[in-house]
Amino acid sequence: MLTAKHNLVAVEKCPTGIRGLDEITNGGLPKDRPTLVCGGAGSGKTLFAMEFLMHGAIKYGEPGVFMTFEETPQDLAKNFYSLGFDLPEMMSRGLIETDHVSITRGEIEETGEYDLEGLFIRLSAAIDAIGAKRVVLDTIEALFSELPNATILRAELRRLFLWLKGRGVTAIVTGESGDKTLTRYGLEEYVADCVILLDFRIVGQIATRRMRIVKYRGSAHGTDEYPFLIDEAGISVLPITSLGLDYPVSKERVSTGVARLDAMLGGKGFFRGSTILLSGTAGTGKTSLSATFADAACRRGERCLYFAFEESPRQIIRNMESIGLDLEQWVKKGLLKFHSARPTLYGLEMHLVTFHKVIEAFTPQVFIVDPISNLIDAGTAPEVKSVLTRLIDYLKMKKISTFLTDLTHFGNSPERTREEISSLIDTWLLLRDIELKGERNRGLYILKSRGMDHSNQIQEFLITNRGLDLVDIYTGSGEALTGSARAAQEAQEKALEMERRHEVDRIRRDQERKRNVLEAKIAALRAEFDAESEELDFLGKEEKKRQKIVAEEQSKMKTLRKGKQSANREKAPKGKVNGKKKGA
């Protein structure tokens, strides 16, 4: 019921266009009302106000008035230019109107009653000139140091803010932070709708900008301190709150670039959009594996963003050539982007903002941080957890596969290194040294991998000039061997194997010879047999011939004996008898 009531009186919002701010305020500043933006010197108040006006004019079609009490119009134009906005050009197009209010204490004498109607008239004229919807007063407090009568000033400021509401403009009033109050002159008393505090603090020699919404009448808003970043593109605010756990998940697998490692991960590699942590001591090949993963992603035509905190991009490219990876081609094709920075360059939160910004701009499918440990060491454990939770939630939301490397220290068990982040990790690979028989070799195993069948074996991790490979560690005679010990053991086994194979070969050859002899014998016998059969056949034919001749001789003799007449009658049965005899 309460929420229903809130919805009824929901405050209309005016988008600022400042990245991140509109999210934490659920849409922007209260429309048609003044907002107080306060902060110390150099906290970014003026920039905040400028961005509000410029985005209003360009993105939302709301012209704006910038009334400055401190900077000259020339300085103002320069400041705008540094953000990439051409103030004179915008003014000539009627999008922005500026007014520089300058009063010098020395030249003003005060006698009797007065009001600030002049200021109202100037503001009103500027608003009317371009039909402004947004107004910035930067920094109206300057009046307090220039006009001695604070009583009149306070009354007039109260009137001014009411008047602004009446004019239907969304206003930003900036104010300098006081010692114990939000602003030195208590402006927060008058601007009651929305107060935003900008903070610039240095912790451990690292400067961090933070923003807090002190109050926002009639609207829900984030109450945390939000880190923000000021760079050439203006202000970026990072919502500190986690996005929650309702991100989409993918069943798609992506290859690690090492076939044997894919095999260890259920044969298919990582899940797309999952978070992979690679822990290992110095020199165990973390960067090589990261680069291989990057290379595999680029081969698939995906975009890969590589944050390097220890090496320069050129150095990584050069070093990876030695293991047969040509990363340069992907950089040239625009698929691989390196981003190098020293971890100590700025605070943890700032790095997070930078991650967000670069990810937004590059829209990668694969995101690599090498190594994340330096960042972790930059903050306290809860801070690290908070930052990484947000980063990982964000990456999961975007379905970006994340590959983090973590440098663990000698002496510590690698498993206990990052208890603060282990719960955030989907797949945790460990690279470790295996010291044996006077040499050090690399072993890789999977500590955990959520949602997939994975190998429990420690594999020997080889870095060759043709890339990375994994080989089974020798576990033959009750001990695990790696490196040359493994190679020696394997060679010995190979020799034995060879010997066995030779013996078998010898027996096989023997057998073969025997068979050849046997076959030759069979052939000889067959030939003999064939010859005999031929002989027999020949003899048969000769016999037939002979019999024929004998028969002919006999019939001749008969003819000679009995006369010619009976010869024809007797001839046929005689032939028949001969044929039958032959067949039998």
């Binding site: 007014d99 209010v101 300058s102 009063i103 030249e107 003003i108 004498e109 005060e110 006698t111 009797g112 009653e113 007065y114 009001d115 600030l116 109607e117 002049g118 200021l119 008239i121 100037r122 009103s124 004229a125 009046l143 006009l147």
Partner: protein, 99 residues
């Protein structure tokens, strides 16, 4: 010295915003002071910002009423209804006429 100042013309401009009581009081007070101290050598120009709002920017007017001494130079400004004659004289840098 006295003869020098006699030849100077005092060019004064009073900024008001409509016929408000304060403006009327200020004008009356100014008139009185000028008659008393600058008789014959002053000129008062009244600018109503409601009619000419763009003029407020030029002389950097924020308070109403504001009296601006355009001449003699340097520029001087007095804000308020000019009720305190002493302060107006100091503000305008007018030496009190010796009695």
């Amino acid at each position: 010295m006295k003869s020098e100042s006699v030849e100077e013309t005092w060019n004064l401009r009073l900024y008001v915003a409509g016929q408000t009581p304060k403006s009327i009081t200020a004008f009356a007070n100014l008139k009185k002071i000028c008659e008393e101290h600058l008789a014959g050598k002053y000129r008062i120009e009244v600018v109503d910002l409601l009619k000419n709002p763009q003029l407020a920017k030029g002389d950097q007017i924020i308070a109403i009423p504001t009296l601006v001494r355009k001449l003699p130079e340097p520029l001087k400004k007095i804000i308020g209804d000019l009720a305190n004659t002493e302060r107006v004289l100091v503000g305008l840098d007018i030496r009190p006429v010796s009695r």
